[in-house]
């Protein structure tokens, strides 16, 4: 039955006629005045997930952003499932960035939340629309709602077999009350959810027609490229403006306190102009910032007592009573994101308004940032969002928006600001450098009876959300405070130690670091106990889903049999982002001493799967991303400057180094877990553990290639 929403509910649906005479349905959580405004509107309202035209055309408005992870397919699948339309007939729209556009659901796309956060609201939006269309048909035919059903974009009357296409029902449906509690489909009747489905963005991405932020075009567009102070906090001292302007095609040189941009008719002129401008810098207070100094401070910080992040039992007594103690210090370096699409942002700043074009993981946040940078009220700013050539956390930041607007304020007309790869890497916001100090007390059987883990590093949370920061970076300690294991008597602490280097989210976020440490250290404990690494973990794992993925990965990898000659294996287990995952990595050591991963066997339980093929793709890509980071990834500072600049010295995996990857998915109807990050977080420790098995070297300081002294 269709019931009306109670006005007192904070969660409600709105229906309205779209401008083109279509039905618009969306879930929103808005304050009352906003709700009244939305309900009163009969024009196209952006606060919605779906739009159905009088021509029957279904448009899904994407609440999360596509950076390769597959939401462009998974979210329409969920909606089409409940709406009972053919996925192939759905059009997908990337909406502008706008806080509140999707009610309580933010557009922010990170932390492996895309499916987890949209699972309920998107299915509800589809189900509500379906119920209203059915009700409209029932009313038109004068039959009971219960006698009608929906399939393939039409409503069908059971006994008479009468049919009505959705398009013919939208006007009537829009006048009906919105179901307060949409009836979701029984999982047993799913046509789409859980079935391998091809990506909806694939064609455009193999024929060159996909449009990324860097591809935007418009009349009068100028191109700018920039150089920012190579030292954090440094200032622009001098620029050879005349030389820059002498380059044909260069139009303008824009000086900022800490950067210079050259604006030109095309990228090449901008690049040549910037070289001619030969900017000179005042390095300022950080001129002597060096890697050794940064690391020394972090190591010292790791010796201090930290803020308590988690505590269980009586650690001191248990540690004193332990038969033996195992201790280790792990270090993980700064990492750049190196998205394939270099950082870029296009802006048109006018006196009274501003438009921004870019691919952003946070288009809603970008709006506020752009408004502030332009000195305009947010309603005067439009954020056009695009497909992203990779995000990995880099596009969770809005520094490129602020920078482009600072430049665009001096430019008459639209300007596309493109970071060179060198600027992109050297002015990235890096994954923090972390030092983890960890210890375990073992009983005579080698089982942990006490556990201490102290994490020292910069706090991203404190930088971005200072109001909520209370001494513990909740992200950094994730997967350290809760591990898959039974660890009686444990204490986890966080010590904040900042440096002039700005740090940010990187695919895998806090658990990336935690899982590397915990899974390496559990391997150390297994070795100390002379136990098999899989058996040791199985003995300590405390929940059945964790044990199941570990057993499955071990079985599929043939863990019980020795590997082929020349090969060695390592394992990792994690529970994070509501997903359980085990990886078995099989490696060879090449003649230069470099570990080469040959085969990765992954078993996972991520709850309800939307698109199994999408899950597999995330496993493959995430594992390779994780191997790149653990094996080669490192950003270092010397004389205040980042030492790496491009893919020759910031290495990422290439085809010849890519392993064979098998994914085994455990069927589950639990709520969906995240899949963008677990594969990356599990890869590093599985690799390091395989390196230990192969060489006897325990890598406690990443990257692995450097720890093993492999020639670059």
């Amino acid at each position: 039955m269709v019931a009306t929403t109670s006005p007192s509910r904070r969660t409600f649906l709105t229906a309205s006629l779209a401008a083109g005479g279509g039905l618009l349905v969306g879930f929103q959580v808005l304050p009352k005045p906003a709700r009244a405004a939305a309900a009163a509107s009969t024009a196209f309202s952006p606060n919605a997930f779906v739009r159905i035209g009088a021509d029957g055309k279904v448009t899904v408005v994407l609440p999360k952003t596509e950076m390769g992870q597959g939401v462009y397919t998974a979210i329409p699948m969920m909606l089409a499932e409940e709406l009972e339309v053919d996925l192939a007939t759905v059009t997908i729209e990337i909406p502008p960035g706008e806080p509140g556009r999707f009610g309580k659901l933010g557009q922010e796309t990170g932390g492996s939340t895309s499916v987890r956060e949209t699972w309920e609201p998107v299915r509800n939006a589809g189900a509500a629309a379906r119920m209203m269309l059915i009700a409209a048909a029932a009313q038109k035919w004068g039959v009971a709602v219960e006698s009608c059903s929906a399939q393939a974009g039409q409503v069908v009357h059971g006994t008479s077999g009468r049919k009505a296409a959705y398009g013919t029902l939208v006007a009537a449906a829009a006048l009906l009350p919105v179901p307060a509690k949409p009836q979701l489909k029984d999982a047993a009747t799913y046509r789409l959810i859980g079935k391998p489905t091809r990506r909806l963005d694939a064609s455009a991405k193999v024929n060159g027609s996909a449009v990324y932020g860097i591809d935007v075009k418009m009349p009068g567009l100028k191109i700018a490229t920039l150089a920012a102070s190579p030292v954090p906090g440094g200032k622009l001292r001098a620029v050879n403006e005349a030389a820059a302007l002498a380059v044909p095609g260069v139009r303008q040189v824009v000086r900022l306190p800490d950067a210079v941009a050259v604006v030109a008719d095309h990228t090449w002129a901008a690049k040549q102009g910037l070289a001619a401008a030969d900017p000179q810098w005042d390095d300022g207070a950080n001129a002597n910032l060096n890697q050794a100094g940064i690391v020394a401070e972090l190591l010292a910080a790791s010796q201090r007592e930290g803020a308590e992040a988690g505590k269980q039992g009586d650690v001191e007594t248990a540690m004193r009573g332990a038969a033996r103690k195992v201790e280790a210090v792990y270090e993980q370096p700064y990492l750049a994101h190196a998205t394939m699409e270099p950082t870029n942002c296009t802006v048109h700043v006018r006196a009274d308004s501003c438009e921004v074009w870019l691919g952003s993981q946070v288009p809603d946040t970008a709006k506020g940032a752009a408004a502030k940078a332009a000195g305009l009220p947010p309603e005067k700013v439009t954020i056009h969002n695009f497909l992203m050539g990779g995000g990995f956390g880099r596009r969770l930041e809005v520094d490129m928006v602020e920078r482009a607007i600072a430049i665009g304020k001096s430019v008459n007309g639209p300007v596309k600001v493109i970071w060179s790869r060198e600027e992109d890497i050297q002015h990235d916001l890096f994954r923090p450098y972390y030092v983890d100090r960890i210890a375990a007390g073992l009983d005579p059987a080698g089982q942990p009876v006490a556990w201490t883990h102290r994490i020292a590093g910069s706090s991203i949370m404190a930088r971005l959300y200072p109001k909520y920061y209370k001494g513990v970076d909740a992200d950094a300690v994730e997967s350290a405070v809760t591990t898959p294991y039974r660890l009686p008597n444990n204490l986890v602490q966080f010590v904040r130690q900042e440096s002039p280097v700005t740090t940010s989210w990187w695919r895998g976020v806090g658990p990336l670091r935690s899982v590397f440490v915990v899974e390496s250290f559990i391997d150390e404990l297994a070795a100390a106990a002379k136990a098999d690494p899989v058996a040791y973990r199985l003995g300590l794992a405390q929940d059945d889903r964790a044990k199941a993925v570990l057993s499955l990965a071990a079985e599929k990898a043939g863990w019980a049999q020795p590997p082929k000659p020349g090969r060695s294996r390592g394992v990792s287990l994690l529970h994070a982002w509501d997903t359980y995952m085990a990886q078995v990595m099989e490696i060879e050591i090449d003649p230069d001493g470099l570990p080469v991963v040959r085969r990765v066997t992954v078993a996972l339980d991520c709850g309800q799967v939307i698109n199994p093929d999408g899950v597999r793709a995330q496993v493959e890509g995430g594992v390779i991303f994780g191997i790149s980071g653990a094996l080669h990834g490192e950003i270092t500072f010397a004389n205040g400057r980042v030492e790496q600049s491009n893919f020759h010295d910031y290495r990422v995996l290439r085809m010849s180094e890519a392993p064979q990857i098998e994914t085994h998915i455990i069927q589950s109807t639990a709520a969906p877990g995240g899949m963008g990050e677990p594969p990356t977080a599990g890869a590093g420790p599985a690799l390091a553990n395989a390196v230990f098995a192969a060489t006897g070297v325990r890598v406690r300081k990443l990257p692995i290639a450097k720890a093993l002294k492999v020639k670059a």
Partner: protein, 151 residues
């Protein structure tokens, strides 16, 4: 300088400095944005196009060096029978993730399969290792090349 260059089967006139890389000529002067900028220094392969059938890094190929050579970009690779096969295999295996590197991958794979109808894994490593995919679609690229070779 005024150049008359052959792009995707059409002779086009363009005004550009002789040292301007083909990448920027395509993207900024001809609006062919399917060809991507990734590194600018022949490290990543995102900018790969075909010049007389050979894969080149357009970011380091000056327009002045192209002469009467025929350039093929992703926008017209479907007109090449091998290219069309590669694209079909890419869709069949569902290779892409963010997609940003894929124009370059498709062109490099087309060049490989034109020169070598049945590449081994080692041939694929050799031909494709200049094309970085930050999303890690390598296993699927490999599978798709084998698939295209078999079709």
């Amino acid at each position: 300088m005024a150049y008359r260059i052959h792009v995707n089967g059409v002779a086009r006139s363009v005004e550009a400095p002789a040292d301007m890389p083909v990448l920027w000529v395509l993207r900024d002067l001809m609006d062919l944005t399917g060809t991507k900028f990734g590194c600018g220094v022949a490290q990543c392969g995102a900018c790969t196009v075909l010049l007389d059938g050979e894969p080149i890094r357009s970011c380091v190929t000056p327009i002045g060096s192209v002469g009467a050579g025929k350039i093929t970009t992703i926008e017209a690779i479907d007109k090449n029978p091998v290219g069309a096969k590669v694209q079909a295999a890419w869709l069949d295996i569902d290779v892409v993730q963010c997609g940003y590197c894929q124009s370059g991958q498709v062109l490099a794979a087309t060049a490989l399969l034109t020169a070598n109808k049945h590449p081994t894994d080692a041939d694929i490593d050799e031909a494709m290792s200049g094309n970085i995919c930050r999303c890690g679609t390598y296993p699927r690229i490999r599978a798709a090349i084998h698939k295209a070779a078999g079709s």
